[in-house]
Subunit: 251 residues, 4 copies
């Protein structure tokens, strides 16, 4: 099956050249996002990621900066000329998010949120659809179908690990989902090894494996000072780590 | 830990007497729901369930009657004097649903839909919170916390099976979630063996086991003619099956 | 399907009256096993369990007393007139074990050890076949078939939990395996909630649920001083706990 | 951690050059194994695999040729000058197998068969230790420790997929086990994508991903006529498929 490539700003995903997406789990403040953007642009990252609305297991954890986070992303993408992807968790968040970012992410916890998918299907914005951490590949492709049915076929899939009994990784990166998602769905497939593994020390081999399996790109979490991150610090690269990885993958 | 009982209409869940909730997966038309309601009331069912908004894996499957389904439930609950529980999948659906049913269900696919949970937390209506088929017990209790944080502590948990490698049942009923949800969360816990097992032939032993483990009630799917059901027929009881089960459970 | 009952010494498993099996994970010395046996007999336990050969994840953990453990079990069963069940892990261990115990256990890790099953199929001794924590119910029944094919149909199944992503219990007790193993296999099915849950505090509800689901008996781990147990202390009952449980279940 | 390389005949596993192991699931007759061996040698395969003792879920499935299968492997390895690896399932099978093959395989179902591991630890033969399909990486490394403790450190690990809820692949290839097994265990790690995926159509991307992740080699199932194979035909390559794969991986 031919892969339907998706353009995000000037960047083409699924066109044969792997893309690298990088950025912090959550946008914490403008200075921090600018620091990451500068490093990202320097080392060949194509798209910046950043979270404004954060789905957190506990209601007492940091929930993201919300609209202020969006505003920061909008400002940074203009300054650095790099497209931005960010997650929405509800239909109400779609409107303001469309004004500030180039690609909308549906997170693993919302892959089964069918009203949200349908609403995004009625926009014309590219959607990064993460696989639910307990979803079969078939259900994932069906979730994409909720977007397509409403008229939006600018879908990029993102494998981010599934739940298993293994404990040395946070989730189990299902590498088979890369060729199966591409062959049977016809969508570009990215891999997010940061969330899959939950540990930095095997990030590089997982990235290389993903590209060798045919992935159309990689998405990694980056933080200027991972130990002080408000979320997901343990799996984030620092800026030097990003440079080394980008060189290995792109260079 | 003491269990916080929850009143739904005149029915108390978590008060020491197990409740039986029954009804069709989806409301298909008024005649059918009236037929089920009559049989349910006859055999001691406390609460009627019925779906108006159906989360379906495929966008091409029957998605429920929507507002018309709600209207039917409202009409039937008045006629038979029985409280009704029904599912919402998005914030927009909460308003109309509140007018037509007595208890709101959050389905397994939306247990991680935090904006939906927060919005329901700002109502004063009892919420039936199903465990995600991919959620740990800890995450389930945290999801309940999203409701409580906003001021609504009228929470009833419902175990409905988790995903495992076993194939003879659709999901694996996690019986340990009954005592753990009650002891560690302090909420009443119901069990939905229809969705857990996905097969009628072991429904009765699973119900008996759930009550023996301390469950505060049982929720089962019923259809006047399961072979013609628009969804979930294979696991639904017919009305005779419901009568036999009710007799066994309620005595 | 009719259940094929199995006699172990004078005890019938699968005859309609649930049996209680109790004893230490590992036989640590004669004094300890006699202490457990005395309490067990006192409170109506039908069969004593005890491990001489212990399958341990690490080769550096306590591996059991071996032949000396068997000798102790033989001596204690004669003194207290109670049948004993113990595990074998290899064909060589079958001979000496047959001389000292009444029922042979195949542990979860050996459910797929087909040469061992075939060798036990050529004896006429009752076999307690634990479900592998990674085995489907179908594979478990197929493992039983290895015994039956060689001529030994004195098979009792034992559900002991399967591996899932849930972390608050060591394994997930698959309660559906009780009716399915009985209905589709025709064998008596016991439940071992100690290994399934790995925690004492929900042992009683799990036992009650198992019997309500139709289990032919319960097997629990007991130790005179669980905190000093050489293995599995955290899930073992002490002797008072055993008395309370036995009263609840048997009487 | 430095990887401890293991020599099998003249072939070094873990020395920096990836090895390719190929052969039929079961040796069915001499003509067939010779045909595979000829093709294998031609296209650069380093080690021939073949099963004489087959662990099968059902006792009524083909169980392998046993001693006759070993004799055939011995004859073929001499004729073609290629080392052979084959599985043992019990201690009794070790003796005759040692005389006929160069490397002993412990299959996924026996990874927890500790007496078997200890017995192999008392030989000096290289052991290919497959990961149990429900074993954590930690348990796998502990199983290797059973061999090392008895004096045999010629251990090669083989990842072959774990059980998850995903249904489009037979098991889920845990690609993270490659870097973790190597880094934390210090053993060479092979990948068996045939058993992991259970489907031919994604074999090539899985092989490429495995090598990119650092795997020390690949083991695939090959059959001259997969549709007529007595076992595992659906996942086996034919001889042309093997040639194409070998060219891609080695060439």
């Amino acid at each position: 099956m031919e892969i339907r490539s998706v353009a995000v700003g000037g960047v083409v995903i699924g066109g044969g050249t792997p893309v690298l997406i990088a950025g912090p789990c959550a946008v914490e403040d403008e200075r921090m996002l600018r620091e990451v953007a500068r490093a990202a642009v320097d080392c060949g990252v194509s798209i910046l990621r950043g979270g404004a609305f954060k789905p957190r297991t506990s209601p007492y954890s940091f929930q993201g900066l919300g609209l202020e986070g969006l505003r920061i992303m909008d400002s940074v993408r203009r300054e650095y000329g790099i497209p931005v992807v960010s997650e929405v968790m509800s239909i109400e968040q779609i409107g303001p998010t469309l004004e500030c970012v180039d690609m909308i992410q549906v997170g693993a916890r919302n892959m089964h949120n069918f009203p949200l998918l349908s609403a995004l299907g009625r926009t014309d914005r590219p959607v990064l659809l993460k696989r639910g951490f307990m979803a079969t590949i078939e259900e994932w492709l069906m979730a994409a179908e909720y977007l397509v049915k409403e008229g939006n076929d600018r879908v990029v899939l993102c494998e981010r690990g599934i739940r298993t009994f293994e404990t040395w990784t946070r989730n189990t990166l299902d590498i088979s989902a890369v060729p199966l998602g591409r062959m049977l769905g016809g969508y570009p497939v990215l891999v997010d090894p940061s969330h899959a593994a939950g540990r930095r020390d095997i990030l590089e081999p997982l990235c290389l494996a993903s590209l060798a399996a045919g992935a159309d790109g990689i998405m990694v979490e980056v933080h200027p000072d991972p130990d002080k991150a408000l979320s997901d610090g343990g799996q984030s690269l620092d800026l030097d780590g990003l440079r080394r990885l980008a060189e290995k993958l792109l260079g």
